[in-house]
Protein backbone atom coordinates (compact mmCIF):
# COMPACT_ATOMS: atom_id res chain seq x y z
CA UNK A 1 0.00 0.00 0.00
CA UNK A 2 1.38 3.36 -0.91
CA UNK A 3 1.35 6.28 1.50
CA UNK A 4 1.07 10.02 1.68
CA UNK A 5 4.53 10.36 0.14
CA UNK A 6 3.07 9.39 -3.25
CA UNK A 7 0.61 12.25 -3.07
CA UNK A 8 3.19 14.64 -1.62
CA UNK A 9 5.68 13.86 -4.41
CA UNK A 10 3.10 14.41 -7.11
CA UNK A 11 1.60 17.56 -5.61
CA UNK A 12 5.03 19.08 -5.06
CA UNK A 13 6.09 18.33 -8.63
CA UNK A 14 2.83 19.75 -9.93
CA UNK A 15 3.00 22.91 -7.78
CA UNK A 16 6.64 23.60 -8.54
CA UNK A 17 5.69 23.68 -12.23
CA UNK A 18 2.98 26.20 -11.52
CA UNK A 19 4.83 29.40 -12.37
CA UNK A 20 2.05 31.57 -11.08
CA UNK A 21 2.07 29.84 -7.69
CA UNK A 22 5.84 30.19 -7.47
CA UNK A 23 5.67 33.86 -8.42
CA UNK A 24 3.00 34.60 -5.89
CA UNK A 25 4.99 32.77 -3.24
CA UNK A 26 8.27 34.50 -3.97
CA UNK A 27 7.54 37.96 -5.34
CA UNK A 28 5.92 39.66 -2.35
CA UNK A 29 8.57 38.09 -0.17
CA UNK A 30 11.25 39.76 -2.24
CA UNK A 31 9.61 43.07 -2.93
CA UNK A 32 8.01 43.80 0.41
CA UNK A 33 11.08 44.07 2.64
CA UNK A 34 12.78 46.30 0.12
CA UNK A 35 9.73 48.55 0.06
CA UNK A 36 9.42 48.47 3.82
CA UNK A 37 13.05 49.27 4.42
CA UNK A 38 12.76 52.14 2.00
CA UNK A 39 9.67 53.35 3.80
CA UNK A 40 11.36 53.28 7.19
CA UNK A 41 14.41 54.87 5.74
CA UNK A 42 12.45 57.90 4.63
CA UNK A 43 10.40 57.84 7.82
CA UNK A 44 13.56 58.03 9.90
CA UNK A 45 14.79 60.90 7.77
CA UNK A 46 11.66 62.94 8.25
CA UNK A 47 11.38 62.21 11.96
CA UNK A 48 14.84 63.39 12.88
CA UNK A 49 15.44 66.53 10.93
CA UNK A 50 18.85 67.66 12.10
CA UNK A 51 20.21 69.01 8.89
CA UNK A 52 20.08 72.59 7.81
CA UNK A 53 16.56 73.54 6.77
CA UNK A 54 15.27 76.55 4.96
CA UNK A 55 12.22 78.27 6.38
CA UNK A 56 10.33 81.05 4.59
CA UNK A 57 9.43 83.92 6.89
CA UNK A 58 6.87 86.67 6.48
CA UNK A 59 7.96 89.92 8.07
CA UNK A 60 11.43 88.96 9.27
CA UNK A 61 12.22 92.64 9.75
CA UNK A 62 9.75 92.63 12.66
CA UNK A 63 11.94 90.40 14.84
CA UNK A 64 15.61 90.62 13.87
CA UNK A 65 16.82 89.13 17.17
CA UNK A 66 14.67 86.06 16.77
CA UNK A 67 15.89 85.65 13.19
CA UNK A 68 19.50 85.79 14.37
CA UNK A 69 18.69 83.23 17.04
CA UNK A 70 17.22 80.85 14.45
CA UNK A 71 20.02 81.38 11.97
CA UNK A 72 22.55 80.42 14.63
CA UNK A 73 20.69 77.18 14.98
CA UNK A 74 20.98 75.86 11.44
CA UNK A 75 17.85 77.46 10.07
CA UNK A 76 18.24 79.35 6.85
CA UNK A 77 15.79 82.19 6.67
CA UNK A 78 14.22 83.13 3.38
CA UNK A 79 11.99 86.08 2.70
CA UNK A 80 8.50 85.06 1.77
CA UNK A 81 5.58 86.97 0.37
CA UNK A 82 3.34 84.41 -1.30
CA UNK A 83 -0.02 83.09 -0.18
CA UNK A 84 0.85 80.87 2.77
CA UNK A 85 -2.29 78.74 2.78
CA UNK A 86 -1.99 77.78 -0.88
CA UNK A 87 1.68 76.96 -0.82
CA UNK A 88 1.32 74.83 2.29
CA UNK A 89 -1.65 72.95 0.91
CA UNK A 90 0.08 72.37 -2.41
CA UNK A 91 3.13 71.21 -0.50
CA UNK A 92 5.36 73.84 -2.10
CA UNK A 93 6.72 74.64 1.36
CA UNK A 94 6.44 72.71 4.62
CA UNK A 95 6.43 75.45 7.23
CA UNK A 96 6.11 79.24 7.08
CA UNK A 97 6.82 81.56 10.01
CA UNK A 98 4.74 84.72 10.05
CA UNK A 99 5.81 87.60 12.26
CA UNK A 100 2.98 90.15 12.30
CA UNK A 101 3.70 93.87 12.03
CA UNK A 102 2.57 94.55 15.61
CA UNK A 103 5.00 91.94 16.94
CA UNK A 104 7.83 94.32 17.65
CA UNK A 105 5.57 96.74 19.51
CA UNK A 106 3.96 94.06 21.67
CA UNK A 107 7.28 92.34 22.26
CA UNK A 108 9.08 95.45 23.41
CA UNK A 109 6.20 96.32 25.76
CA UNK A 110 6.20 92.79 27.18
CA UNK A 111 2.67 92.23 25.90
CA UNK A 112 1.53 88.98 24.34
CA UNK A 113 3.48 88.88 21.06
CA UNK A 114 2.12 86.43 18.53
CA UNK A 115 3.95 84.43 15.88
CA UNK A 116 2.08 82.26 13.41
CA UNK A 117 3.49 78.98 12.12
CA UNK A 118 1.71 77.88 8.96
CA UNK A 119 1.86 74.13 8.48
CA UNK A 120 -0.12 71.06 7.51
CA UNK A 121 -0.40 68.82 10.55
CA UNK A 122 -1.52 65.86 8.45
CA UNK A 123 1.75 65.76 6.53
CA UNK A 124 4.44 63.60 8.06
CA UNK A 125 7.08 65.46 6.11
CA UNK A 126 6.23 68.83 7.58
CA UNK A 127 5.93 67.51 11.14
CA UNK A 128 9.65 67.34 11.83
CA UNK A 129 10.30 70.87 10.57
CA UNK A 130 7.30 72.21 12.41
CA UNK A 131 8.40 70.60 15.64
CA UNK A 132 11.89 71.99 15.29
CA UNK A 133 10.78 75.54 14.54
CA UNK A 134 8.32 75.38 17.41
CA UNK A 135 10.96 74.17 19.83
CA UNK A 136 13.43 76.86 18.84
CA UNK A 137 10.92 79.69 19.12
CA UNK A 138 9.83 78.42 22.52
CA UNK A 139 13.45 78.24 23.61
CA UNK A 140 13.93 81.84 22.46
CA UNK A 141 10.77 82.89 24.26
CA UNK A 142 11.97 81.28 27.48
CA UNK A 143 15.39 82.88 27.22
CA UNK A 144 13.94 86.32 26.72
CA UNK A 145 11.38 85.72 29.49
CA UNK A 146 14.14 84.69 31.91
CA UNK A 147 16.12 87.81 31.13
CA UNK A 148 13.09 89.99 31.78
CA UNK A 149 12.56 88.36 35.16
CA UNK A 150 16.19 88.89 36.08
CA UNK A 151 15.91 92.56 35.14
CA UNK A 152 13.08 92.78 37.65
CA UNK A 153 15.22 91.04 40.22
CA UNK A 154 13.28 87.80 40.12
CA UNK A 155 14.94 84.43 39.96
CA UNK A 156 13.86 82.98 36.59
CA UNK A 157 13.79 79.49 38.13
CA UNK A 158 10.53 80.49 39.80
CA UNK A 159 8.95 79.95 36.42
CA UNK A 160 10.02 76.32 36.45
CA UNK A 161 8.03 74.63 39.18
CA UNK A 162 9.10 71.30 37.81
CA UNK A 163 11.89 70.47 35.45
CA UNK A 164 11.95 67.20 33.61
CA UNK A 165 15.14 65.35 32.81
CA UNK A 166 14.72 62.63 30.24
CA UNK A 167 16.49 59.38 31.05
CA UNK A 168 15.76 57.08 28.13
CA UNK A 169 17.02 53.57 28.70
CA UNK A 170 15.78 52.11 25.43
CA UNK A 171 18.67 50.48 23.64
CA UNK A 172 19.33 50.98 20.00
CA UNK A 173 18.02 47.49 19.33
CA UNK A 174 14.76 48.05 21.15
CA UNK A 175 14.16 51.32 19.34
CA UNK A 176 14.93 49.58 16.09
CA UNK A 177 12.47 46.88 17.12
CA UNK A 178 9.67 49.40 17.21
CA UNK A 179 10.50 50.49 13.71
CA UNK A 180 10.54 46.84 12.70
CA UNK A 181 6.99 46.31 13.94
CA UNK A 182 5.59 46.68 10.44
CA UNK A 183 8.06 44.16 9.11
CA UNK A 184 6.83 41.56 11.58
CA UNK A 185 3.40 41.69 10.06
CA UNK A 186 4.91 41.01 6.72
CA UNK A 187 7.05 38.08 7.90
CA UNK A 188 4.07 36.72 9.81
CA UNK A 189 1.80 36.93 6.78
CA UNK A 190 4.28 35.41 4.32
CA UNK A 191 3.02 31.92 5.21
CA UNK A 192 -0.53 32.90 4.33
CA UNK A 193 0.25 34.62 1.05
CA UNK A 194 2.90 32.17 -0.01
CA UNK A 195 0.76 29.10 0.39
CA UNK A 196 -2.56 30.47 -0.86
CA UNK A 197 -2.28 29.49 -4.55
CA UNK A 198 -1.20 25.94 -3.70
CA UNK A 199 -3.82 25.61 -0.97
CA UNK A 200 -6.43 26.52 -3.57
CA UNK A 201 -4.97 24.39 -6.34
CA UNK A 202 -4.89 21.23 -4.23
CA UNK A 203 -8.52 21.64 -3.09
CA UNK A 204 -10.86 23.94 -5.03
CA UNK A 205 -8.59 23.69 -8.08
CA UNK A 206 -8.74 19.90 -7.92
CA UNK A 207 -12.49 20.11 -8.07
CA UNK A 208 -12.58 22.77 -10.76
CA UNK A 209 -10.51 20.65 -13.12
CA UNK A 210 -12.61 17.60 -12.22
CA UNK A 211 -9.61 15.66 -10.98
CA UNK A 212 -10.87 15.14 -7.44
CA UNK A 213 -13.22 12.29 -8.27
CA UNK A 214 -10.61 10.32 -10.26
CA UNK A 215 -8.12 10.88 -7.44
CA UNK A 216 -10.45 9.65 -4.72
CA UNK A 217 -11.32 6.36 -6.41
CA UNK A 218 -7.77 5.21 -5.72
CA UNK A 219 -6.97 2.96 -2.78
CA UNK A 220 -5.46 5.54 -0.51
CA UNK A 221 -6.95 6.58 2.80
CA UNK A 222 -8.33 10.10 3.06
CA UNK A 223 -5.71 10.64 5.73
CA UNK A 224 -2.84 9.82 3.37
CA UNK A 225 -4.22 11.95 0.54
CA UNK A 226 -4.86 14.92 2.81
CA UNK A 227 -1.51 14.62 4.57
CA UNK A 228 0.28 14.56 1.21
CA UNK A 229 -1.58 17.62 0.04
CA UNK A 230 -1.12 19.46 3.31
CA UNK A 231 2.63 18.80 3.34
CA UNK A 232 2.86 20.38 -0.10
CA UNK A 233 0.98 23.48 1.00
CA UNK A 234 3.05 23.63 4.17
CA UNK A 235 6.26 23.47 2.13
CA UNK A 236 5.17 26.61 0.31
CA UNK A 237 4.09 28.31 3.53
CA UNK A 238 7.38 27.68 5.32
CA UNK A 239 9.32 28.37 2.12
CA UNK A 240 7.72 31.78 1.79
CA UNK A 241 8.39 32.46 5.48
CA UNK A 242 12.06 31.62 5.11
CA UNK A 243 12.35 33.75 1.97
CA UNK A 244 10.64 36.68 3.67
CA UNK A 245 12.86 36.43 6.75
CA UNK A 246 16.06 36.15 4.76
CA UNK A 247 14.98 38.97 2.47
CA UNK A 248 14.36 41.18 5.50
CA UNK A 249 17.71 40.28 7.04
CA UNK A 250 19.43 41.02 3.73
CA UNK A 251 17.58 44.29 3.31
CA UNK A 252 18.94 45.52 6.63
CA UNK A 253 22.48 44.68 5.61
CA UNK A 254 22.15 47.20 2.82
CA UNK A 255 19.84 49.82 4.18
CA UNK A 256 21.23 51.94 6.95
CA UNK A 257 19.03 53.37 9.63
CA UNK A 258 22.03 54.85 11.43
CA UNK A 259 20.71 58.35 10.73
CA UNK A 260 18.19 57.66 13.47
CA UNK A 261 20.81 56.22 15.75
CA UNK A 262 19.44 52.78 14.96
CA UNK A 263 21.21 49.86 13.45
CA UNK A 264 18.72 47.02 13.23
CA UNK A 265 20.21 43.70 12.25
CA UNK A 266 18.86 40.19 12.02
CA UNK A 267 21.64 37.90 13.12
CA UNK A 268 21.84 34.30 11.93
CA UNK A 269 20.62 33.20 15.35
CA UNK A 270 17.63 35.55 15.12
CA UNK A 271 16.75 34.25 11.66
CA UNK A 272 16.88 30.67 12.93
CA UNK A 273 14.73 31.59 15.94
CA UNK A 274 12.18 33.30 13.72
CA UNK A 275 11.88 30.27 11.45
CA UNK A 276 11.52 27.86 14.38
CA UNK A 277 8.91 30.18 15.87
CA UNK A 278 6.93 30.39 12.65
CA UNK A 279 6.81 26.68 11.74
CA UNK A 280 3.57 26.14 13.71
CA UNK A 281 1.89 29.23 12.27
CA UNK A 282 2.86 28.10 8.78
CA UNK A 283 1.22 24.74 9.60
CA UNK A 284 -1.89 26.58 10.69
CA UNK A 285 -1.90 28.88 7.66
CA UNK A 286 -1.74 25.88 5.30
CA UNK A 287 -4.51 23.89 6.94
CA UNK A 288 -6.78 26.88 7.46
CA UNK A 289 -6.49 27.98 3.85
CA UNK A 290 -7.10 24.44 2.60
CA UNK A 291 -10.19 24.12 4.74
CA UNK A 292 -11.58 27.37 3.40
CA UNK A 293 -10.78 26.54 -0.23
CA UNK A 294 -12.27 23.09 0.10
CA UNK A 295 -15.70 24.72 0.33
CA UNK A 296 -15.19 26.98 -2.65
CA UNK A 297 -16.65 25.95 -5.97
CA UNK A 298 -13.91 27.44 -8.07
CA UNK A 299 -10.40 28.83 -7.94
CA UNK A 300 -11.74 32.37 -8.14
CA UNK A 301 -14.22 31.86 -5.34
CA UNK A 302 -11.49 30.38 -3.17
CA UNK A 303 -9.27 33.36 -3.86
CA UNK A 304 -11.86 35.81 -2.61
CA UNK A 305 -12.49 33.67 0.50
CA UNK A 306 -8.80 33.58 1.31
CA UNK A 307 -8.52 37.33 0.90
CA UNK A 308 -10.96 37.69 3.78
CA UNK A 309 -9.66 34.75 5.79
CA UNK A 310 -6.33 36.45 6.40
CA UNK A 311 -8.07 38.94 8.66
CA UNK A 312 -9.26 36.32 11.13
CA UNK A 313 -5.87 35.34 12.60
CA UNK A 314 -4.68 38.90 12.06
CA UNK A 315 -7.51 40.55 13.98
CA UNK A 316 -6.08 39.95 17.48
CA UNK A 317 -2.66 41.08 16.26
CA UNK A 318 -4.04 44.32 14.87
CA UNK A 319 -6.18 45.01 17.92
CA UNK A 320 -3.26 44.61 20.30
CA UNK A 321 -0.97 46.61 18.02
CA UNK A 322 -3.34 49.52 17.56
CA UNK A 323 -4.38 49.43 21.21
CA UNK A 324 -0.69 49.50 22.13
CA UNK A 325 -1.20 46.54 24.49
CA UNK A 326 1.84 45.07 26.20
CA UNK A 327 2.59 41.38 26.05
CA UNK A 328 0.47 39.44 28.53
CA UNK A 329 0.47 35.75 29.26
CA UNK A 330 -2.90 35.03 27.69
CA UNK A 331 -1.68 36.31 24.34
CA UNK A 332 0.61 33.31 23.97
CA UNK A 333 -2.40 31.01 23.94
CA UNK A 334 -3.74 32.67 20.82
CA UNK A 335 -2.24 31.29 17.59
CA UNK A 336 -0.58 33.90 15.38
CA UNK A 337 -0.91 36.57 18.10
CA UNK A 338 1.52 34.55 20.22
CA UNK A 339 3.93 34.26 17.32
CA UNK A 340 3.68 37.97 16.70
CA UNK A 341 4.50 38.76 20.34
CA UNK A 342 7.56 36.51 20.27
CA UNK A 343 8.59 37.88 16.90
CA UNK A 344 8.57 41.35 18.43
CA UNK A 345 10.82 40.28 21.22
CA UNK A 346 13.21 38.48 18.86
CA UNK A 347 13.44 41.46 16.54
CA UNK A 348 14.03 43.80 19.47
CA UNK A 349 17.03 41.71 20.35
CA UNK A 350 15.41 40.48 23.56
CA UNK A 351 15.56 36.83 22.57
CA UNK A 352 12.78 34.28 22.78
CA UNK A 353 11.12 33.11 25.99
CA UNK A 354 11.13 29.30 25.84
CA UNK A 355 7.99 28.90 27.96
CA UNK A 356 6.10 31.27 25.71
CA UNK A 357 7.44 29.55 22.61
CA UNK A 358 6.20 26.20 23.87
CA UNK A 359 2.76 27.54 24.83
CA UNK A 360 2.25 29.30 21.52
CA UNK A 361 3.51 26.38 19.46
CA UNK A 362 1.37 23.89 21.34
CA UNK A 363 -1.76 26.02 20.93
CA UNK A 364 -1.10 26.54 17.23
CA UNK A 365 -0.33 22.90 16.51
CA UNK A 366 -3.44 21.85 18.42
CA UNK A 367 -5.68 24.05 16.27
CA UNK A 368 -3.89 22.76 13.16
CA UNK A 369 -4.58 19.17 14.16
CA UNK A 370 -8.26 19.90 14.67
CA UNK A 371 -8.48 21.49 11.23
CA UNK A 372 -6.58 18.59 9.66
CA UNK A 373 -8.98 16.12 11.26
CA UNK A 374 -11.90 18.01 9.77
CA UNK A 375 -10.14 18.12 6.38
CA UNK A 376 -9.62 14.35 6.40
CA UNK A 377 -13.28 13.81 7.33
CA UNK A 378 -14.51 16.13 4.61
CA UNK A 379 -12.32 14.93 1.76
CA UNK A 380 -14.51 12.03 0.67
CA UNK A 381 -17.78 13.63 1.68
CA UNK A 382 -20.37 14.08 -1.07
CA UNK A 383 -20.48 17.77 -0.40
CA UNK A 384 -16.83 18.14 -1.27
CA UNK A 385 -16.61 15.60 -4.11
CA UNK A 386 -19.84 16.44 -5.90
CA UNK A 387 -20.63 19.77 -4.30
CA UNK A 388 -24.01 18.39 -3.21
Amino acid sequence: MSTFTTVFKKELKDSLRDRRAIMVAILPALIAPVLMAFMFHTMVKTRVSTNEITVPVIGQENAPDLIDFLEQRQITIEDYNGIAKEDIQNEVVKVIIEIPDDFEENFSQSKDAIIYIHNDGSLDKSKADNRRVNRLIREYSRTVGSMRLMVHGVNPNIMNAISIKDKDYSTDESRAGQILAGLQMFILMAAFFGSAPVAIDTTAGERERNSLEPLLVHPLSSFSIMTGKWLTVFSFAIGATIIATLATATAFEFISLKAAGLDPKLSVQMVINIIILLIPSAMLASSLQMLTSLFAKSFKEAQSYLGLLVFIPMAPVMITMIGGMKAEDWMFNVPVLGQQQLLTSIMRGEGMNMMHLLTTSAATVAVTLVILTVLVKLLRSERVVYGG
Binding site: V7, K10, K13, N210, S211, P214, H218, R380, Y386
Partner: protein, 244 residues
Protein backbone atom coordinates in the same frame (compact mmCIF):
# COMPACT_ATOMS: atom_id res chain seq x y z
CA UNK B 1 -17.59 -9.47 -9.17
CA UNK B 2 -19.69 -6.42 -8.45
CA UNK B 3 -22.86 -6.84 -6.49
CA UNK B 4 -25.39 -4.11 -5.86
CA UNK B 5 -28.38 -4.85 -3.69
CA UNK B 6 -31.51 -2.78 -3.35
CA UNK B 7 -29.74 0.52 -3.77
CA UNK B 8 -31.59 3.83 -3.23
CA UNK B 9 -30.35 7.38 -3.32
CA UNK B 10 -32.22 10.68 -3.26
CA UNK B 11 -31.02 14.24 -3.63
CA UNK B 12 -33.52 16.28 -1.70
CA UNK B 13 -36.88 15.42 -3.19
CA UNK B 14 -35.41 13.93 -6.36
CA UNK B 15 -35.14 10.16 -6.27
CA UNK B 16 -32.08 9.38 -8.41
CA UNK B 17 -31.84 5.65 -7.75
CA UNK B 18 -34.75 3.63 -6.46
CA UNK B 19 -34.16 0.07 -5.27
CA UNK B 20 -31.62 -0.98 -7.89
CA UNK B 21 -30.03 -4.43 -7.75
CA UNK B 22 -27.27 -5.33 -10.21
CA UNK B 23 -24.78 -8.15 -10.45
CA UNK B 24 -21.79 -7.92 -12.77
CA UNK B 25 -20.17 -11.34 -13.08
CA UNK B 26 -16.51 -12.11 -13.63
CA UNK B 27 -15.70 -12.96 -17.24
CA UNK B 28 -18.64 -10.95 -18.50
CA UNK B 29 -19.26 -7.49 -19.86
CA UNK B 30 -22.27 -6.00 -18.15
CA UNK B 31 -23.95 -2.92 -19.57
CA UNK B 32 -26.00 -0.29 -17.83
CA UNK B 33 -28.26 1.19 -20.48
CA UNK B 34 -30.63 4.06 -20.03
CA UNK B 35 -31.60 7.53 -21.15
CA UNK B 36 -30.03 10.63 -19.65
CA UNK B 37 -31.00 11.04 -16.03
CA UNK B 38 -31.89 7.39 -15.53
CA UNK B 39 -29.56 7.09 -12.52
CA UNK B 40 -26.64 5.31 -14.19
CA UNK B 41 -23.91 7.66 -13.00
CA UNK B 42 -25.30 7.81 -9.47
CA UNK B 43 -25.37 4.02 -9.37
CA UNK B 44 -21.76 3.82 -10.53
CA UNK B 45 -20.63 6.50 -8.08
CA UNK B 46 -22.18 4.52 -5.29
CA UNK B 47 -20.33 1.44 -6.48
CA UNK B 48 -16.95 3.12 -6.29
CA UNK B 49 -17.90 4.54 -2.94
CA UNK B 50 -17.94 8.30 -3.38
CA UNK B 51 -21.70 8.57 -3.14
CA UNK B 52 -23.29 7.31 0.05
CA UNK B 53 -26.46 5.33 -0.56
CA UNK B 54 -29.56 6.04 1.52
CA UNK B 55 -30.21 2.35 1.50
CA UNK B 56 -28.71 -0.82 0.06
CA UNK B 57 -25.37 -2.61 -0.17
CA UNK B 58 -22.49 -2.61 -2.62
CA UNK B 59 -19.74 -5.20 -2.59
CA UNK B 60 -16.67 -5.68 -4.78
CA UNK B 61 -15.38 -9.28 -4.67
CA UNK B 62 -17.38 -9.56 -1.42
CA UNK B 63 -15.73 -6.49 0.14
CA UNK B 64 -18.36 -4.06 1.38
CA UNK B 65 -17.55 -0.68 -0.14
CA UNK B 66 -18.92 1.29 2.79
CA UNK B 67 -16.96 -0.75 5.29
CA UNK B 68 -13.58 -0.80 3.58
CA UNK B 69 -13.38 1.65 0.71
CA UNK B 70 -9.61 1.44 0.38
CA UNK B 71 -9.56 -2.35 0.04
CA UNK B 72 -12.45 -2.23 -2.41
CA UNK B 73 -10.80 0.58 -4.42
CA UNK B 74 -7.68 -1.55 -4.83
CA UNK B 75 -9.78 -4.12 -6.70
CA UNK B 76 -11.38 -1.62 -9.06
CA UNK B 77 -10.27 0.24 -12.12
CA UNK B 78 -12.47 3.25 -12.63
CA UNK B 79 -13.19 5.54 -15.50
CA UNK B 80 -15.43 8.10 -13.84
CA UNK B 81 -17.74 10.70 -15.26
CA UNK B 82 -14.96 13.30 -15.07
CA UNK B 83 -11.63 12.93 -16.83
CA UNK B 84 -9.74 15.46 -14.69
CA UNK B 85 -6.11 15.40 -15.81
CA UNK B 86 -3.38 17.64 -14.39
CA UNK B 87 -2.28 20.23 -16.98
CA UNK B 88 1.28 20.42 -15.81
CA UNK B 89 2.01 16.69 -15.73
CA UNK B 90 2.84 14.46 -18.68
CA UNK B 91 0.82 11.36 -19.55
CA UNK B 92 3.63 9.22 -18.16
CA UNK B 93 3.65 11.16 -14.89
CA UNK B 94 -0.08 10.62 -14.61
CA UNK B 95 0.31 6.89 -15.03
CA UNK B 96 3.22 6.86 -12.57
CA UNK B 97 1.20 8.71 -9.96
CA UNK B 98 -1.90 6.55 -10.26
CA UNK B 99 0.22 3.40 -10.49
CA UNK B 100 2.02 4.35 -7.29
CA UNK B 101 -1.29 4.95 -5.59
CA UNK B 102 -2.12 1.36 -6.43
CA UNK B 103 1.13 0.33 -4.78
CA UNK B 104 3.13 -0.29 -7.95
CA UNK B 105 6.79 0.71 -8.00
CA UNK B 106 10.14 0.19 -9.69
CA UNK B 107 10.24 -2.13 -12.71
CA UNK B 108 6.75 -3.35 -11.95
CA UNK B 109 5.49 0.20 -12.44
CA UNK B 110 7.60 0.69 -15.57
CA UNK B 111 6.17 -2.48 -17.09
CA UNK B 112 2.65 -1.45 -16.18
CA UNK B 113 3.13 1.88 -17.94
CA UNK B 114 4.61 0.13 -21.01
CA UNK B 115 1.69 -2.27 -21.17
CA UNK B 116 -0.97 0.36 -20.58
CA UNK B 117 0.29 2.84 -23.15
CA UNK B 118 0.07 0.16 -25.82
CA UNK B 119 -3.69 -0.29 -25.22
CA UNK B 120 -4.67 2.97 -26.88
CA UNK B 121 -1.40 3.67 -28.61
CA UNK B 122 -0.58 6.80 -26.63
CA UNK B 123 3.20 6.43 -27.03
CA UNK B 124 3.29 9.62 -29.07
CA UNK B 125 1.81 11.71 -26.28
CA UNK B 126 3.25 9.78 -23.36
CA UNK B 127 5.93 12.38 -22.53
CA UNK B 128 3.86 15.44 -23.33
CA UNK B 129 2.18 17.58 -20.70
CA UNK B 130 -1.55 17.06 -20.96
CA UNK B 131 -2.33 20.75 -21.32
CA UNK B 132 -3.80 21.22 -24.78
CA UNK B 133 -4.68 17.56 -25.30
CA UNK B 134 -7.75 16.94 -27.45
CA UNK B 135 -10.76 15.45 -25.72
CA UNK B 136 -9.97 12.07 -27.31
CA UNK B 137 -6.35 12.18 -26.12
CA UNK B 138 -7.48 13.05 -22.61
CA UNK B 139 -9.95 10.16 -22.68
CA UNK B 140 -7.19 7.75 -23.66
CA UNK B 141 -5.00 8.84 -20.75
CA UNK B 142 -7.98 8.57 -18.40
CA UNK B 143 -8.81 5.07 -19.71
CA UNK B 144 -5.17 4.05 -19.28
CA UNK B 145 -5.34 5.37 -15.74
CA UNK B 146 -8.19 2.96 -14.99
CA UNK B 147 -6.16 0.05 -16.32
CA UNK B 148 -2.70 0.76 -14.91
CA UNK B 149 -2.95 -1.84 -12.14
CA UNK B 150 -4.71 -4.56 -14.21
CA UNK B 151 -7.83 -4.38 -12.06
CA UNK B 152 -10.04 -7.39 -11.43
CA UNK B 153 -13.11 -5.19 -11.84
CA UNK B 154 -13.45 -2.42 -14.38
CA UNK B 155 -16.10 0.28 -14.10
CA UNK B 156 -16.55 2.68 -16.99
CA UNK B 157 -18.96 5.59 -17.09
CA UNK B 158 -19.80 6.40 -20.73
CA UNK B 159 -16.36 5.36 -21.95
CA UNK B 160 -16.89 6.08 -25.65
CA UNK B 161 -18.21 9.64 -25.37
CA UNK B 162 -16.02 11.66 -27.71
CA UNK B 163 -13.73 8.86 -28.86
CA UNK B 164 -13.02 8.48 -32.59
CA UNK B 165 -13.99 5.33 -34.47
CA UNK B 166 -10.53 3.80 -34.32
CA UNK B 167 -10.27 4.34 -30.60
CA UNK B 168 -13.74 2.91 -30.00
CA UNK B 169 -12.66 -0.20 -31.87
CA UNK B 170 -9.51 -0.42 -29.75
CA UNK B 171 -11.57 -0.08 -26.59
CA UNK B 172 -14.02 -2.73 -27.75
CA UNK B 173 -11.23 -5.19 -28.51
CA UNK B 174 -9.58 -4.44 -25.20
CA UNK B 175 -12.78 -5.02 -23.22
CA UNK B 176 -13.34 -8.32 -25.01
CA UNK B 177 -9.80 -9.37 -24.21
CA UNK B 178 -10.20 -8.43 -20.55
CA UNK B 179 -13.47 -10.33 -20.37
CA UNK B 180 -11.77 -13.40 -21.85
CA UNK B 181 -9.13 -13.09 -19.14
CA UNK B 182 -11.94 -13.44 -16.60
CA UNK B 183 -12.21 -9.80 -15.58
CA UNK B 184 -15.48 -8.22 -14.57
CA UNK B 185 -16.46 -5.25 -16.74
CA UNK B 186 -19.34 -2.93 -15.91
CA UNK B 187 -20.05 0.07 -18.04
CA UNK B 188 -22.79 2.57 -18.61
CA UNK B 189 -23.92 3.99 -21.91
CA UNK B 190 -26.81 5.52 -23.72
CA UNK B 191 -25.44 4.48 -27.12
CA UNK B 192 -27.30 1.46 -28.44
CA UNK B 193 -24.75 0.13 -30.97
CA UNK B 194 -22.06 0.14 -28.34
CA UNK B 195 -24.07 -1.91 -25.91
CA UNK B 196 -25.19 -4.34 -28.59
CA UNK B 197 -21.64 -4.82 -29.80
CA UNK B 198 -20.14 -5.30 -26.36
CA UNK B 199 -22.43 -6.62 -23.71
CA UNK B 200 -23.06 -10.10 -22.50
CA UNK B 201 -25.65 -8.94 -20.05
CA UNK B 202 -27.71 -5.74 -19.92
CA UNK B 203 -29.57 -3.78 -17.28
CA UNK B 204 -31.93 -1.18 -18.67
CA UNK B 205 -32.54 1.70 -16.31
CA UNK B 206 -35.15 4.43 -16.39
CA UNK B 207 -36.27 6.90 -13.75
CA UNK B 208 -33.91 5.39 -11.18
CA UNK B 209 -35.19 1.83 -11.56
CA UNK B 210 -34.04 -1.28 -13.41
CA UNK B 211 -36.90 -1.93 -15.79
CA UNK B 212 -35.46 -4.93 -17.60
CA UNK B 213 -32.39 -7.15 -17.53
CA UNK B 214 -30.95 -10.12 -19.42
CA UNK B 215 -28.86 -10.96 -22.45
CA UNK B 216 -29.64 -8.84 -25.53
CA UNK B 217 -31.60 -11.78 -26.98
CA UNK B 218 -33.63 -12.26 -23.82
CA UNK B 219 -34.59 -8.62 -23.73
CA UNK B 220 -35.70 -8.71 -27.38
CA UNK B 221 -37.76 -11.82 -26.71
CA UNK B 222 -39.38 -10.26 -23.70
CA UNK B 223 -40.66 -7.28 -25.67
CA UNK B 224 -41.19 -9.10 -28.93
CA UNK B 225 -38.96 -6.73 -30.85
CA UNK B 226 -36.34 -7.62 -33.46
CA UNK B 227 -33.55 -5.33 -32.40
CA UNK B 228 -32.33 -4.18 -29.02
CA UNK B 229 -33.05 -0.60 -30.02
CA UNK B 230 -36.72 -1.34 -30.65
CA UNK B 231 -36.89 -3.28 -27.40
CA UNK B 232 -35.31 -0.35 -25.57
CA UNK B 233 -37.84 2.12 -26.99
CA UNK B 234 -40.74 -0.23 -26.12
CA UNK B 235 -39.48 -0.58 -22.54
CA UNK B 236 -38.70 3.08 -21.98
CA UNK B 237 -42.04 4.31 -23.30
CA UNK B 238 -43.78 1.95 -20.90
CA UNK B 239 -42.30 3.96 -18.04
CA UNK B 240 -44.41 6.96 -17.32
CA UNK B 241 -42.94 10.38 -17.91
CA UNK B 242 -39.72 9.20 -19.53
CA UNK B 243 -38.80 10.06 -23.09
CA UNK B 244 -36.67 7.55 -24.92
Amino acid sequence: MIKVENLSKSFGKVVAVDGVSITAEDGKITGLLGPNGAGKTTTLRTIYGLQKPDQGQVSIDSINVREDLVAAAAKMGIFPDSIGLYDRLTSREHLQFYGEMHGLKGTELEQAIERTQSYFDISEIIDRKTKGFSHGQQMKVALSRALIHSPKNLILDEPTNGLDVMSIRLLRELLHKLRNEGKCVLFSSHVMQEVTALCDYIYIMAAGKVIASGTPEEICQETGDDTLEDAFVTLISSVEGVEA
